[in-house]
């Protein structure tokens, strides 16, 4: 299953275009039967949030997502994989993260995308700080135990 699929991993400040990223994976290919994409956006938390500031660990962020992506490519018969994570200040309604997986059949694409997001949330070195709509400085978003548990469930299936 290792194949020749080389995951595309990008950490960037600027926005991305979901349609462009999907097209990039599928263009000129007749062997792909399923594409799953997940995009995570910044919520306004009922109007209380003016932005999220995403801090990251340059170097390790790329390396860690590349490790997670390489594992996904080994576990599922994928024909393409893209993972993009933004950093810096992100306003409500804007994109934060994108995962696109392509495979011959839908199950592998769905599962690999799910796995990638679970691991990305609990292993990739990013931290979110809130900026409040009333101008006050918000706190750091706390990690959820549920995210750790979600990542953990992939271990038992080995």
């Amino acid at each position: 299953m290792t194949g020749a699929v080389v995951p595309v991993v990008r950490i960037q400040r600027q926005d991305f275009d979901v349609a462009v990223e999907i097209a990039r994976l599928t263009q000129g290919r007749a062997d792909i039967g399923a594409v799953v994409s997940f995009s995570g956006l910044c919520r306004d938390e009922q109007g209380t949030l003016s932005a999220l500031e995403l801090e990251h660990y340059p170097g390790m962020a790329e390396a860690e997502i590349a490790r997670i992506a390489a594992e996904a490519v080994q576990r599922w018969p994928l024909q393409g994989l893209t993972a993009i994570h933004r950093h810096g200040k992100i306003a409500p309604g804007e994109n934060i993260v994108l995962v696109v997986t392509a495979s011959a059949h839908r199950q592998a694409a769905f599962e690999a995308a799910n796995f990638l997001m679970d691991y990305l949330k609990s292993r990739a070195p990013f931290w979110k700080k809130e900026h409040r709509a009333d101008g006050s400085e918000g706190g750091w978003v706390e990690a959820k135990e549920a995210d750790d548990e979600a990542a953990g469930r992939w271990k038992s299936s080995d």
Binding site: L54, H56, E64, H85, K121, P125, F126, W127, A143
Partner: protein, 85 residues
């Protein structure tokens, strides 16, 4: 040997700097030893490392447990649990 320590998110804010180069004293063998030593270096460190169990650590940009030996580490990063995605 000099080791570069890098801090992120509220660990960085509480310690008051993003990174520093330190000469580790003798006897600091594991990540847990390092956290204990750092905590004794002043108020900011004390505040940041009040609950060492929640601190996540990467050696040379790879996640490690607190029992990991730090011999030969060029870069050790300390940060809170990750909240990306």
């Amino acid at each position: 040997m000099t080791t570069r320590l890098i801090y992120f998110a509220w660990v960085r804010e509480r310690i008051g700097m993003p990174e520093e180069d330190v000469d580790l004293p003798a006897g600091i063998e594991t990540v847990a030893d390092l956290l204990r030593w750092l905590k004794s270096r002043g108020e900011g460190y004390e505040h940041a490392l009040q609950y060492p169990d929640v601190i996540r650590v990467a050696i040379n940009q790879e996640h490690v447990e607190h029992g990991e030996k730090i011999a030969g580490a060029r870069e050790i990063a300390l940060f809170p649990p990750m909240t990306g995605g």
